[in-house]
Each structure stands twice: as C-alpha cells, then as structure tokens.
Symmetry: C2
Subunit: 112 residues, 2 copies
C-alpha cells in the first residue's frame, strides 16, 4: 500500500484510491458496469491503447481484490469472461458520480 501523508492509511479516500486509483482500472469498471460481462478482447477493443501486460495485471489485481470474478465456460473453444462481484458492484456510486459530473460539467468535443 502506498502511503501519502497524515496517517492516510486511516483516510478512506486513500484506501479507495489504493483499489481504483488508476485510470485504466476506472475505465475497466465502467465497462463492466455497463456491459455486465467482458472478455479479454472486449477490454482490448474498448481500451484501445492499453498494453496486454497492463490489462492482464489490472485484471489480476481486481480479481485478487475481490472486485472482479473470472468465469471459465467449458465451451469449445473455452470461453473466459470477467464480471463484477457483489463487492465490485458496490463501486457503482463512485462511477455514477464521475459520469454525472462529466455530463454536467464538461462538454463533449464536437468532432474527433
């Protein structure tokens, strides 16, 4: 755990940042909340510039944290999907607050 100042392990915002304080992580949670289940390739398509190493590391971390569950389906070929656990879905209000702020206080560029 990274420490950042005045007894901050005692700060709930720091403890939240220790789980979701990284940009890709937030976008992966957004995708999981919106889509329900995501394959590895779905993340790669959604997060165009993420490297495979970073994506794998984030999925591993989120699984270890109990935020994401890795489901293996015994199809042919085997299918692997990632879904939010109940613990992971509890992050919904943070993402909703971020979405609402973006909608209300920033403007969409007119063209790419």
């Amino acid at each position: 755990m990274r420490k950042t100042g005045y007894g901050q392990t005692g700060c709930p915002v720091v403890r939240t940042l220790n789980v979701i304080g990284e940009r890709w992580t937030v976008l992966m949670l957004r995708d999981l909340l919106l889509k329900g289940a995501m394959k590895y390739q779905d993340f790669q398509e959604s997060l165009e510039s993420i490297s495979p190493n970073t994506l794998s590391a984030r999925l591993k971390f989120l699984t270890e944290q109990g935020i994401v569950e890795r489901r293996v389906y015994e199809d042919h070929p085997i299918r692997v999907e990632y879904v939010l656990t109940r613990h992971g879905r509890s992050l919904g209000p943070i993402l909703a607050a971020m979405r609402d702020w973006g909608n209300t206080h920033t403007s969409q560029p007119e063209s790419e």
Copy 2:
C-alpha cells in the same frame, strides 16, 4: 486530452478522469473540501511524498481548469491560499462516494 478507446472523448467518465484522474489531484481536492483553504505548505505537509514540481504542476492545472482559485492576500509577508471555486466544489459528490466506499468496504489498518 488522452484518448482511450471507443469515441471516449464522448464518454463522461473519461472527461472526468481528464480533470481528476490522477491520485495526487484527488487527495488535493479532498484536502480543499475538508479544510476550505490550503497554503502551498499545507499541501506539502498533507501529501508528504509529493514533489514540489508535481504539486506546483497540479495546482497550475487545477487553476487553469477553473477548479481551484489562487488567492493572494497583501499581508506582510504576502499570503497565498488555494480554495475551491464553485465549479471545484461540484466535485464534492465524487469525493463523498469515494470516502463512503472506503469507509464501508475497506478496513483501517490497526497500526502504521
């Protein structure tokens, strides 16, 4: 602006991350929401391991974004304080959601 996948400049979460998607920025907003006004040294004390360059860059960015206002008081010696603008205070619900999640879903370490 960093682009990250499917028309994401059109994604309100991405647009929010473009403003507050950095760990130190979130902790600076936390301090400003809690304390009201912060001097440069107050941030240094709160965010022990932040470098002066990073702190100055973040303050400049947040001021340019209209999130933070730099107030200069003509005392002897001159006093400079940073406060949230009305636009900056609108980020409160995001920080509150992060605090609530940290309080509910993570536990405070028993000792440092």
